[in-house]
């Protein structure tokens, strides 16, 4: 449990706090207009990058699991609940 708390604390420090800080700091310069096209399209491209990376990792993990844990894999071993009749 202690290790979990430490893990989430580390994640908070490296991800959440910088994101919140940058959110509160930006966009308040007087007389300067932001270009909504740039903001919106930048967000779109960042989100697409994340989506494709996550999609590749998740589908890659599933494909690897199917390949690695198939019965015919050379290193396959029976799990306890599968019994000893292998």
């Amino acid at each position: 449990m202690k290790k979990l708390v430490v893990l989430f604390l580390v994640l908070a420090v490296i991800v959440v706090i910088p994101a919140v800080e940058s959110a509160f700091a930006a966009g308040d310069e007087p007389g300067e207009y932001l270009d909504r096209r740039a903001v919106i399209w930048n967000l779109f491209f960042r989100m697409m990058t994340i989506a494709f990376v996550v999609g590749a990792v998740v589908s890659g993990t599933m494909i690897w699991q199917c390949w690695r844990f198939r019965e015919s894999h050379p290193k396959a071993k029976p799990t306890p609940y599968e019994g000893t009749d292998w």
């Binding site: 991800v15 959440v16 959110a23 207009y33 909504r36 096209r37 903001v39 919106i40 994340i50």
Partner: protein, 143 residues
């Protein structure tokens, strides 16, 4: 189950939560930025009705089907509808806001280049919806 470890699962859960928080923060930040209307933005009242757009500037000038603005200035649209739901869209400037009867929706922008851009209705609003169009003229600033 000797030698079994839950750590990969917990790391996976942590990474997923971190990614979701990051995506949420980025989206929230972008929304906050584009909704922050500059104090000196000029107000343009936009009225949608079947099947054309009417614009009213701060000085009372009215335009139908076309809108003239100046480069480098900020404008805040106050968008309404007289009859059914419409959606005010200037595609080139990524402006899209519903026009709803009995409600004023706002969106702002600051044109950066001189030119002409299409204005269109983006919510099906009846027979001639396809032709509920207008033109945005971005001109050099007069002063």
């Amino acid at each position: 189950m000797g030698g079994h470890s839950n750590w990969p699962e917990w790391i996976y859960v942590g990474v997923v939560i971190a990614l979701m928080v990051w995506v949420g923060a980025e989206a929230w930040e972008a929304e906050r930025l584009v909704e922050h209307v500059p104090a000196d933005a000029k107000i343009i009242k936009v009225m949608g009705q079947q099947w054309f757009w009417t614009f009213e500037h701060e000085d009372g000038t009215k335009e139908i089907g076309e809108l003239h603005v100046e480069k480098g200035k900020a404008y805040k649209f106050e968008i309404e509808s007289k009859d059914v739901n419409h959606s005010f869209n200037i595609h080139d400037y990524v402006i899209l806001m519903d026009a709803i009867p009995g409600r004023v929706n706002t969106v702002w922008f600051a044109p950066t280049d001189v030119g002409e851009h299409d204005i269109q209705c983006r919510e099906y609003c009846g027979l001639i919806h396809y032709n509920m169009r207008g033109t945005l003229y971005v001109e050099e600033p007069s002063s």
